[in-house]
């Protein structure tokens, strides 16, 4: 199984593009983790495996174009391979939503990236919905609701 402790999206230049923490961690510790993982993971070569041991837990990551998707999971109980599949599912879903997603989409629409993530992963990092179409339908409905509110405001 995979309970994700945190998910970080870091660009090839080492810039944080998204961060999501599924466990309560002190701000100082968060900064430390982000800093350490950025340097560890950016330095890894392409052929190396996507699993790194860091501190008391494991980190799996995968690079999609210019972005690294990084997930912290527990040392022994979690399934590293499945975590990679979850990341891939997330990327696929965003790809459909944005239509060929790229780093810029996520930078300017981080809110949407979070919305999609929240539909897929809940609580302490467990996957909640595995159907892409379910996730997207719900997100789209909520987007419409949001726009209706805006429309109402304009009309009144």
């Amino acid at each position: 199984m995979a309970n994700i402790k945190y998910m970080l999206l870091i660009s090839r230049q080492g810039k944080l593009r998204l961060q999501k923490w599924y466990t309560a961690i002190a701000a100082k510790e968060k900064t430390k983790i982000v800093k350490a993982l950025t340097s560890i993971i950016l330095a890894r070569k392409k052929k190396m495996c996507n699993i790194v041991e860091y501190g008391d837990h494991k980190v799996v990551y995968r690079r999609y174009a210019s972005l690294y998707f990084i997930c912290g999971i527990s040392q022994n109980s979690d399934n590293e391979l499945l975590t990679l599949e979850i990341v891939h599912r997330y990327v696929e879903t965003m790809d459909t939503y944005f239509g060929n997603v790229c780093e810029l989409d996520i930078i300017f629409n981080f809110e949407k990236a979070y919305n999609i993530l929240d539909e897929m992963i809940m609580c302490d990092g467990s996957i909640t919905e595995t159907s892409k179409s379910n996730v997207l339908n719900n997100i789209k409905t909520m987007d419409i609701l949001e726009n209706n509110d805006n429309l109402d405001r304009v009309l009144s």
């Binding site: 944080l16 391979l81 930078i107 609580c123 719900n138 909520m142 509110d149």
Partner: protein
Amino acid sequence: MGSSLKSFIKDVRGAKTLSEERSIIQKQSAKVRTKLRDDHLSLEKRRKNIQKLMYLFILGEKTHFGQVECINLIASDEFVNKRLGYLAAVLLLDESQDLLTLLTNLMSNDLNHSNKYIVSLALTTLGFLSSPELVRDLYPDVNNILKTSKNVFLVKKALQCTAKMISKDITLFDVFSLDTIKDILNNNSLVCHGTLLGVGKVIQAYVKGFPAYLEMLKSDNTNIEAMEQILVADISEIIPEIILQLKNLNMKNTKPEYDVKGVCDPFLQAELIQTLKVIFQLENTAINDQFLNKFEDLLTFIATNTDPSKSSGQSILYETAKTIFSLNLEQSLRVLGINILANFLNGKNNNIKYVALNTLLQVIPQDPSAVQRHRKYILKCLFDPDVSIKSRALELTFAILDESNIVESITELVNFLEYSSEDNTDLNIYIVEHLVNAFDTIKVSDEKWKLDIFLKILELTGSYMTQERINDILITLNNVTNFDNKNHFVVKLLNISLKKYEEANKSVDLFSDNFAWKLVTVWCIGEYADLVLSKSKSSIISETNLTKYLVDLDTYCTAADTKILDYLLTATLKLSSKITNGKAIEDLRQIILTHTKDANLLIQMKSVQYELIFSQPVAIKKPILEIMPKFEKKQKPIFESIHRASSVIKKTEKPRSNNDLLLDLLGDDTIGDNSNARKPTNSDNSPQGNADKDLLADIFGSSNNRSESVSQTHIESVSKDHNTNSVQLPSDAAEIYDDDNITIYGQVNSIETRLAQIELYFKSKGNITELLSLCAVTKTQKLVMGTLIPSSDINTGNISKQSLKITGSGKLKLRVKLEFKIDGVDHSELFDHKFDHSI
């Protein structure tokens, strides 16, 4: 600078320098802060600022000032505000904040809202921010959704929330019942992948929390057995349903939306496997008797029916293997699991190789022989370009090393060393450490081969080999009883050394940085020159060549090479008694002579003493310079992780001042790592040390113990002449510590200005061995400790004493740490004592 979020992001991205970027961010941060403080700010503007705040959060900036604003947005009636408010709250707040209580009422309302999306937002947020108060207050609302809602979208989220809540607060077990879960499973319109994921989570949380709940009930005198039976009954009803669902998922893949590379919803499959695993981990006989067989059949089915060529299939197979091992299922399944992993090793993908090696490493204790069978694949992974795979494969190779495969495995490892590059020094050190150790524990029939391996690793890794390993090799060599084998090694070693030396034509390269090689060569010249000189047919090993080697090495030695010089002097002395060539003997004599004025006191002292021996007649010299007796070797733990091994090596041994000691005592976690340096028998570990001691004791009868890098605070092993003494406890000694194993008395012998002498008496209550007492004093004082008299081994009722000399000023306070063994079991004690005196 624009005012929208978009332009803010653009500005940050457009910054040319880091400082420019910082100034843009700080300006915006200040701006957002002032804006949010304005009570009359419109909701639309407020939203904009919260969005900016979220961007600041992503950038890693401080955002605490906006936390209350998120809550204000949630309070709004409009969906757009609520959506943003909840999203921001989840990001900017966490479970530990008091602020969350402000949310209670808002969320309670939203959980009962008519719009399912608003309910869903509240559920998602509750799942992230489950503080104890929120859990307690909002549980009824969530449970209500579970019970009454017909909406799959909400039920799935409510299930996830419930799982988190009951794992946070076991008192909820009083009101939560698995009946809700059974109802959902029985309601066809609710069963779908999303709800099944949630059902799995709830069951896991329930089963995991149940033992703790029973514990809690115990104190209330509730009938626990009845409770347990209810659980068993509930779970027994649920298991068949889950097994059925899982089997269906694995068999047919008909829903394209759940397909992942040809496998149907691997996430749900893994979740259900995990759920069943957690249930069987309860080890409830009633449940296991009824269902474990079925589960085993199902795992076998999954293992054979899942496509191993796709990453999604691999993740399920991996989960299956992990489950088999963690439940320690029967042999046939274990073999199945190990075979799954072995197939992974054979693949091309590095991730599956890594997880396979990692898991096999954990399985070894359960089934070494099954892992053994895949040794070939494991050895192959040694040569993988990925360093983490290399290191895992190494650990695994050593873990399965035994008599049957040692020759093949070690040949492969030496092969690895040969092609290993400089950046792998850590791994190389790890190999050498474990390889030398492996020879201690595993019997090798072919001694000649073993010595050849030593020669090879000296050649390959000598430049960074630790002193301890060099000593191990020397000890092993010394203890070789077969003359031919020994001769074989020494001739080979000297041949290479002397040949290189000739080829290099006395250039500096000759004495390259292969420290271990040099040391072993020097030692062998001293010990075995006679052996090889008489037997060797090769012309290169001659009296003059050996002498020349020593002479030249001596000239190239810098002051920093004390260790080499130390060995070289002894070798010189020994060689002189083994050769007949007068000129060579004189050359050797000169080596020693030049060092009688050495700046290094140690070398100087040794040279002076050796010079005395040198001039003795052969009849006296010969017996002193006999070859070494057989050495005893200390056993070391063999298996430790690479990380640990290399960190120990990197620690340089340095003399410890009292301050260090104090630090160690206060935070005693480093003691374990370093304890080797402080073991009483430390100096005995080195053959050279032994040689000196014998030599000096015989000639001068003095107890001239020269501990080198080791500080005086060590408790040295007892010298023989002390053994007969027994210690009496003086009548005025006061008891300062007492426990089940030992009583300690202290006596202040003398107090002068800035100097106190104290005796500690250790009276044992059991057979204590290897007692090591470490004392620390306050920072204003310094401490010198004597040895334990008569011995660091104390039989029941006997007493050993130790004298302490404290200089400095202030009250006399001691912190004492004791490490000792009773019947081979390690004990350690730590206590403080304050004397009534001060200096």
